[in-house]
Point group: C2
Chain length 277, copies 2
């Protein structure tokens, strides 16, 4: 689909053991710089917009694009860069923060299910129910057994979505620890970014390896043929955007969307013309 | 704010009697064509994006941009053209269709209130609670007395929003009857647009004058200094986009948004640097 990188390379769809150390967050495919992918980006954006229009018109499928990644991996940024050109009436960006009282009182899939895409719509998730097997596992709120149980529920939930016409595109934005440190410093030094700085992000850095292990377990348990995971190298923002867009366009192309065939009484054409009389 | 048109000309903020026949839907200000406004559009879009970032960061205000207009007036289009560049995490496009059972069982402001913007957010409304004094009035579901009562509730509701930090920007997209006919024909002739065609739109054309009167009554009752109405000429799509963007940028500028002043323990900078040790 998108030239210059092989989507298969970044795809996890066999429930196999994954070692994130095998994936280079600084990967740039066969490219050197942003300018090398600009033309392809524009072309793919047009494709995506056309497919969104057909999706919205036909209402045969919905699309859920789920982003996970460490702090500073660019989950907000990728949505702004790759998806902001979509027609806002057919697209929603959802984020999941600390659960509210009502959310925490429900099962862990409830709040995400509630705001998932209807057929005809595209919804992006900035974080998701995967946090319930990541942060909880890292901080010991749940044990391995409970995590495995939840992962089974997640896999079944995503299968249910697929069976209901919802395409689930799962993307992990992969950055290095050094890259994150640089970004945190940038926030501190730029008055326009200082408001994004949260001291607790620093504390989380200590758990980096535990997070990677929790992610690897999640990929292994839920990276299926129908609902694969994608590990997107994200140290280079432009390459992150390029690969992400390529993955989305590739996945949506396979839905083979078309404009709905509308049966219309052609005499209404004359009625239109006569309507002013 | 935006050069080449005087916002005051399109603004209704004195609860005065309005005659829509005084407003030319084909107005192009002092311009001839799209190219004349392109540079200003780009500049205003950058301004809007910067203001959105400050709005999102400071969370002192929210922004509700409400679009009303006849079928084919371009309510969807203006959102796609003017607002699609916004950061999706801080923006939502809501539309109001035929009320569901649950919605109809509540008061007429309920469903809109529920999805209005939080502070920090921008929300656009494609149609709104104004339909409850328009379509209902035109079809005689409510009488004049009931309409006037509802208009008072609307004015008070919008005042409540303003008092709570929500900027309400109200825009009526003004087209001519002939223009609408042309657009309906276009839908019939273009296979990519046929799905948008709804025969009932034709029937509604017969009530054009009654709609204009219902709109005029709504403008008179709710066009206040704090929450004015704007009548945007919409026969020329590019001029519609230009004036709409100008109105939004002008209104948001007056909020005098700034990035929040964050008090931060500067020793955390060193902590960042040391976090990897």
């Amino acid at each position: 689909m998108a030239a210059g990188f092989d989507i298969e390379r970044y795809r996890l769809d066999r429930k196999e053991k994954v070692d994130l150390a095998d994936y280079d967050p600084g990967d740039k495919g066969s490219f050197k710089q942003k300018e090398d992918v600009e033309e392809a980006m524009e072309r793919m954006k047009r494709q995506l917009e056309e497919m969104q229009e057909m999706l919205y018109a036909s209402k045969t499928h919905g699309v859920l694009i789920l982003f996970q990644g460490m702090d500073c991996s660019g989950k907000d940024g990728v949505v702004a860069k790759v998806l902001s050109g979509l027609n806002p009436h057919g697209f929603r960006a959802e984020s999941f923060k600390q659960p509210t009282g009502e959310e925490a009182a429900h099962d862990f899939l409830w709040r995400a299910h509630k705001v998932g895409p209807a057929r005809g719509m595209i919804t992006s998730f900035n974080r998701s129910y995967y946090e319930d097997v990541l942060i909880t596992r890292v901080h010991g709120t749940i044990d391995k057994k409970e995590a495995n149980k939840r992962l089974k529920h997640i896999q079944q939930f995503e299968k249910h979505l697929a069976d209901s016409g919802i395409l689930v595109v799962k993307i992990f934005l992969h950055i290095s620890q050094d890259f994150q440190l640089g970004k945190l410093k940038e926030r501190l030094e730029n008055p326009k970014k200082l408001w994004k700085f949260d001291p607790s992000d620093l504390a989380e850095r200590k758990h980096w390896d535990a997070y990677m292990q929790a992610y690897e377990a999640a990929f292994k348990a839920t990276g299926t043929k129908t609902n694969p995971w994608h590990i997107v190298p994200a140290n280079h923002r432009w390459y992150r955007d390029y690969v992400t867009l390529g993955i989305i366009v590739d996945a949506m192309s396979r839905l083979k969307l078309i404009y709905p065939v509308v049966e219309i009484d052609r005499s209404s054409i004359e009625a239109v013309a006569a309507a002013d009389e």
